[in-house]
């Protein structure tokens, strides 16, 4: 496989720079909160700067080719190497993770959740960033697995220490569930390694040789990967950790979880499971598609049943990731590209919604929908941003969400050769029904919390609350949110900014499905 190896230091620096920040943080005294914040902020700015430089250096004409490839011996004993690279599929997610971390750090400057301890909080966040970025550049299964697991621990602590009342349960559930999936995934990786001759864990190597495996072997190996990735996505019926984790996590945790962590699963399907095991992917596709559309409807119904705003947004992730998985399950470049777009769009939009939920909670000290109301009246800016985000989330054309949703629905009409068209056309109709339900739960939410008059207990200017109870969006929030809002609009109007990067890479990945 052709690869570009220029500037191969860039990815390593971008990935491990946050770790340097963690080391710096370790020597800063705990009491010096200002310095801690500065270090964290500068580290994440520097990381984004490396990311921007990577964007400049990226050869967009060759988005289908691995770039900045670096290969070093790592664990020769098991033939695993430090093998990294970046193509059009990885790039948006890699860069998104950097930006989201920066925005979350900015937001945290003013919003450290109880019980405080910014030193540990920022350290975890930066550690998380290394794990996320690493997952998107790893081209070796063991390396991928290490990064994939590295993400787990900081998030576990973030939920378990800074989370809500039920944090112990939620964090443990999150950890164990993901761990369970990872275990099966590891089994699959090992089996794949042995079955392809125990030669290498490198993804390009496995892509070359995986297709030669007998179909039933592929199907079993795929099963292991499927569970591992499906838990992470999460797909119905492996999603129950998600609402708990989201609801209990601090705002920052929810944002990172929604924006990046869920994409590790879908990315795994596109990067590893499908290209390595094409026959199995075909055999599994109808079932994946089926679970995806069940997830769309089921997630939407779950949303309609919620009384808590944050939990509603969490359930909406189940529905939205259903669209992503539906796109992937068609195994067409149309569908997979749409899914990749959908991942980024969901990251931006749902990340934004979780930010908003956090800020609402901070001001009203509750997220119970029945107690909220009239946000537009008390905080017009916050209310309109919420309206904008809801519209984006329900897939309004002209905003980013549409380009993940509509082409995914479209692609289901014509899945890859060999897949049952009738089945997928039924999926298409069900998914389209999901867009109606999405409008229902999001607008209903908006109508209840933003329209109308504020409830008596919150009427007035925060009687019984601190003085700044109902201040509108503050400057930290503006800094953290504006990039997301702009991105949602820009990608909605000029989707090709991302499509043209994704498209060639998806074509490369799906080479095995032509004809």
């Amino acid at each position: 496989m052709e690869m570009l190896r220029d500037h191969n230091w860039m990815l390593s620096v971008g990935t491990f720079l946050p770790l340097l920040g963690v080391l710096l943080l370790l020597v800063v005294p705990k009491a010096n909160e200002q310095l801690i914040k500065k270090v964290a902020l500068l580290t994440s700015i520097a990381t984004v700067a490396v990311g921007v430089w990577t964007l400049f250096r990226f050869d967009f004409g060759n988005a289908g080719t691995m770039q900045f490839v670096d290969e070093k011996t790592w664990i020769p004993l098991i033939k695993s190497s430090y093998y990294i690279g970046l193509d059009g599929i990885s790039l948006p997610l890699y860069f998104l993770s950097m930006v989201i971390t920066l925005l979350v750090v900015i937001y945290s400057l003013d919003h450290i959740p109880a019980p405080g301890n910014p030193k540990a909080f920022f350290s975890l966040m930066l550690l998380l960033q290394t794990g996320m970025a690493g997952t998107f550049i790893a081209q070796d299964l063991i390396l991928f697995f290490v990064f994939f697991e590295l993400v787990l621990l900081p998030m576990y602590f973030m939920i378990g220490v800074w989370g809500g009342e039920n944090r112990q349960y939620a964090s443990l559930k999150f950890f164990l569930y993901t761990m369970f999936g990872s275990a099966l995934m590891l089994i699959a990786f090992l089996a794949l390694f042995f079955k392809t001759g125990a030669e290498s864990f490198a993804i390009p190597y496995l892509v070359e040789h995986g297709g030669a495996l007998a179909k039933n072997v592929q199907i079993w190996i795929f099963a292991g990967m499927f569970v591992g990735f499906a838990v992470k996505v999460p797909m119905f019926p492996f999603h129950t950790w998600l609402p708990d984790a989201h609801t209990q996590a601090p705002t920052q945790g929810s944002v990172i979880l929604a924006a990046i962590l869920l994409k590790l699963g879908t990315y795994g399907f596109v990067r590893i499971a499908i290209p390595v095991l094409p026959d199995a992917a075909k055999a599994w596709a109808p079932y994946i598609g089926g679970l995806a559309v069940i997830g769309i409807i089921y997630g939407a119904l779950g949303c309609l049943a919620q009384t808590d705003m944050k939990r509603l947004i969490a359930f909406s992730s189940v529905a939205h990731m259903g669209f992503v998985m539906l796109g992937i399950s068609t195994l067409t470049s149309f569908g997979v590209t749409a899914a990749m777009f959908g991942m980024v769009a969901h990251g931006l939009i749902t990340g934004m919604l979780f930010f908003l939920a956090g800020s609402v909670k901070e001001r009203y000290h509750t997220l119970e929908i029945a107690r909220l109301g009239g946000i537009l009246k008390q905080m017009p800016r916050l209310g309109w941003i919420l309206g904008f985000s809801c519209m984006a989330s329900l897939g309004l054309p002209g905003l980013a969400g549409f380009w993940g949703e509509f082409p995914a629905i479209l692609s289901a009409y014509n899945p890859a050769a060999g897949l049952n068209e009738t089945v997928f056309r039924v999926y298409m109709v069900v998914a389209a029904l999901g867009t109606v339900l999405a409008a229902a739960y999001l607008l209903w939410l908006f109508q209840r919390v933003a329209f109308g008059e504020p409830k008596p207990e919150f009427a007035g200017d925060g009687h019984g609350h601190d003085d700044h109870a109902f201040h509108d969006v503050n400057k930290f929030e503006w800094f953290a949110w504006t990039p997301l809002l702009i991105a949602i609009l820009v990608f909605g109007v000029v989707p090709n900014l991302m499509f043209k990067v994704l498209d060639p890479a998806v074509q490369t990945v799906l080479k095995g499905f032509k004809g």
Binding site: V161, V217, T240, I409
Partner: protein
């Protein structure tokens, strides 16, 4: 119909035609400016909205002039190619998709209507909403709406059409809920958006199906994607499509049209949408946005034509829905006391006429009815707004707060009467020329039953409009119109126009030092007068009774179903399409281009016939209309002024009438079905059941597994772990524990235990798998 190559002329074009894409761009930019800087501007952003609409109107006018020139530059019977410009928008799967404009007669006529009425409504709103709390937001949303609608109208591809379509839906939501402090308004907004969105499902599916069904054909023959409206149209008429696929696609698209254009059974949102400010009702919910569904059908007409086998034997879905809508909506208009609701049901009913026309192959009369209806209905709504603004103290209740207003509001009264006569279809007002054409052509195309329904609808229209006119302008002045002040009453009954404008109105009234009913200011009456002039005269643009010379709209707008492949090698007469197998030989309806040139090439529009105008038929329908007016006038006088004992309370005394009346008052129980049954079931028990499943079944399984594995792992830990895999696992466990301990001591011991267990289990299982499969 001349198809020969030598007869083809080079069509003229011009700057306006080439730059028609600016028409929606300008209000879009206007919207952005209003949102960002509106509040700081001297007129709070309304000047930007108004200016951008005037600019769009000027461009639309220029486009119309040049289009007329272009039509004139073609040979007789020559297909007037639309002015198409496209740009690459996105690419996926190695294919490029474009965004762009396609300007033809249909686009031009709707562009002019939308830009014109938007401008007038914005002018009107500067007075009507003067002092409103969200004045700037109002103009922002209104301007964005116009941008969305204009974008939909010029769309070359179905994606841009979808984009404009949804932006209109969003603006409709924002504007209906403009006074969202009141729960009723925000519920109406939600209902409107949600109902329309339910229909939009059909649009998504229809667009997807058409794309995949037509893409190969359009790429091969025309070099455009399956999103191109031209491409889809030509494909639909090519005899190529599978009849099931195109039927399903047509049904899907028609469902979207039903939702947007308030057709039965999804019409219920439109009357509720009257909760929005009156200018919104006038612009969005009568003259422009709600015709988007009709526009969709006329835009993609070939798809419906082929899919539903229009002009084939028997009726079709479009006609049936249209006919039902005409009658049921007109019947509902009789029991309304709210003047805006009468007009809303009237709009629904008139949209039914347009659909009926389209379904029956009367394409041009339907499009012409969009045109004339926009003027007289916008005028009626603005008239109702004028009354509430200046006479009835923000009430829309005809029975309680109106009556006798003809004397105090002469301008409003005159414009109202003109528009009412136009709506009823009285000669020579504009509605006569469009509505009568629809009814006439429906009959002419062989659908006698539907023609009778059309005539019945005309009778009902005349009757309910007479009733509304009588209640509003004749008889005794009542309630607020009589100068009574009852604020509680106004708030209770006129939930539509809220406290804000109410306060503003009080201030405004105080300025005049006059609390009684009076005529509105010029910013309100000028749009009324302009619209009334058009309600009177616009029918003459296609006055079939006066001969072919008067049929200008037909010349300008109706596409000529002619050959297209000017670029094909060997000249149009010898295009490569000659070799494309045509269904013409089968001798039936699959070659709808017209009998002259079915196999010459591609056609973009089906060949349609026009009824020959006959005064005898017109006299029949005029007679029916006058009968409706007269009967309704007599009944209204007896009922409302003389309080005739035989009529008053009749619906309570007579059982049959009572149940009929109840059926109407309850709107055929459709709202109850939707809101109390379907929505309630989904949002209530069904959602709750899904969530119960989530919390108890899925999580229950999980907790059971966790409990079992806790017991099991305890056993493993004691019996295997400690003895067998002691060393390695313990060390890794310790390492994890150490790492965790640095950060926070949360259950790290337990986690490392689970983790270690899982890792070892994974390793074992991997080995097993390898052994089994080798």
């Amino acid at each position: 119909m001349i198809a020969a190559a030598e007869a083809l002329q080079t069509l003229s074009s011009g700057w306006f035609l080439e730059h028609a894409w600016l028409i929606p761009i300008i209000p879009a930019i206007g919207f952005a400016i209003i949102i960002l800087f509106g509040k700081k501007l001297p007129m709070k952003g309304s000047e930007i909205g108004l200016l951008s609409m005037i600019a769009s109107l000027v461009l639309a006018g220029g486009t119309a002039m040049q289009w007329i020139d272009r039509v004139g530059s073609g040979a007789e019977g020559q297909f007037i190619a639309p002015v198409v410009r496209t740009w690459n928008w996105w690419q996926i799967g190695g294919m490029n998709f474009t965004i762009g404009q396609s300007i033809d007669g249909l686009a031009v006529i709707i562009l002019v209507v939308v830009a014109f009425i938007s401008t007038l409504v914005q002018l009107y709103s500067t007075e009507y909403l003067n002092g409103d709390r969200r004045y700037t937001h109002f103009f922002a949303a209104l301007t964005l709406f116009s941008a969305g609608m204009l974008a939909m109208v010029i769309a070359e591809d179905t994606i841009l059409l979808l984009l404009g379509w949804e932006i209109m839906g969003l603006c409709s939501f924002m504007l209906i809920g403009h006074w969202w402090e009141d729960g009723a308004n925000s519920r109406a907004a939600l209902k409107a958006f949600f109902t329309v969105r339910t229909g939009d499902m059909g649009l998504l599916i229809g667009v997807a199906m058409l794309y995949f069904a037509s893409n190969d054909w359009t790429t091969e023959h025309l070099g455009v994607s399956g999103f191109s409206i031209r491409g889809i149209s030509a494909w639909a008429l090519s005899g190529e499509p599978n009849s099931t696929v195109i039927l399903v696609a047509a049904v899907a698209l028609f469902i979207a049209a039903i939702g947007k254009s308030g057709q039965f059974p999804l019409h219920t949102w439109l009357p509720d949408a009257m909760a929005g400010p009156t200018p919104v009702s006038s612009l969005l919910h009568s003259s422009t946005m709600v015709v988007a569904g009709v526009f969709l059908v006329s835009r993609l007409y070939p798809v419906f034509f082929t899919g539903f086998d229009i002009l084939g034997t028997g009726g079709n879905l479009i006609m049936v829905i249209g006919a039902i809508t005409i009658v049921i909506a007109a019947a509902l208009a009789f029991v309304q006391n709210d003047i805006k609701k009468v007009l809303a049901y009237s709009t629904v009913s008139q949209l039914g006429y347009m659909m009926l026309g389209l379904g029956a192959g009367a394409w041009l009369p339907a499009v012409f009815h969009i045109f004339t209806h926009a003027f007289f209905k916008a005028c009626l709504f603005l008239g109702a707004g004028s009354i509430s603004h200046s006479a009835s103290h923000h009430s829309f209740d005809m029975k309680k707060d109106m009556g006798g207003l003809r004397k105090v509001m002469p301008i409003t009264f005159t414009t109202w009467i003109i528009s009412t006569l136009a709506l009823c279809g009285v000669f020579p007002f504009s509605g006569f020329f469009s509505k009568d054409e629809i009814i006439d052509n429906v009959g002419n195309n062989g659908y006698q039953m539907f023609m009778i329904i059309g005539l019945l609808g005309a009778f009902m229209t005349a009757a309910y409009m007479t009733r509304a006119t009588y209640l509003t302008f004749f008889g005794e002045a009542r309630g607020a119109s009589a100068g009574e002040h009852h604020d509680e009453h106004a708030t209770a009954h006129a939930a539509h126009d809220s406290h804000d404008s109410h306060d503003a109105h009080d201030a405004h009234v105080a300025d005049h030092g006059d609390h009684g009913p009076h005529e509105s200011g010029w910013r309100i009456t000028l749009p009324l007068v302009l619209l009334a002039v058009l309600a009177l005269s616009s029918g003459l643009l296609n006055a079939t009774p006066f001969g072919e010379k008067w049929e200008r709209i037909k010349t300008w707008v109706e596409p000529r179903a002619e050959v297209v492949m000017e670029t094909a090698p060997g000249g149009p007469g010898h295009s490569k399409l000659l070799s494309v197998p045509s269904a013409a030989e089968e001798g039936h309806h699959d070659s709808p281009c017209g009998s002259e040139t079915p196999e010459e090439g591609v056609c973009y529009a089906p060949q349609l016939v026009h009824a020959k105008f006959k005064w005898s038929k017109a006299m029949l329908s005029l007679g029916i209309v006058f009968l409706g007016i007269a009967l309704s006038w007599i009944v209204s006088t007896m009922l409302y002024t003389r309080k005739d004992k035989r009529l008053v309370g009749l619906t309570e005394r007579n059982g049959v009438l009572r149940s009929g009346y109840n059926l109407l008052v309850n709107k055929y129980y459709l709202d109850a079905l939707y809101e109390k049954v379907i929505v309630k079931a989904i949002a209530g028990p069904i959602a709750a059941a899904a969530y119960w499943f989530n919390q108890n079944v899925l999580d229950g399984i999980l907790h059971a597994i966790a409990a079992v594995s806790r017991v099991f792992s305890g056993w493993v830990y004691r019996n295997i772990d400690q003895r067998v895999v002691d060393g390695t696992v313990n060390n890794s466990g310790k390492a994890t524990k150490g790492a965790g301990g640095v950060l926070a001591p949360v259950q790290s011991g337990k986690v490392s235990q689970y983790g270690a267990l899982l890792f070892s289990a994974a390793a074992v299982a991997a080995l097993v798998l390898v052994i089994i499969n080798s």
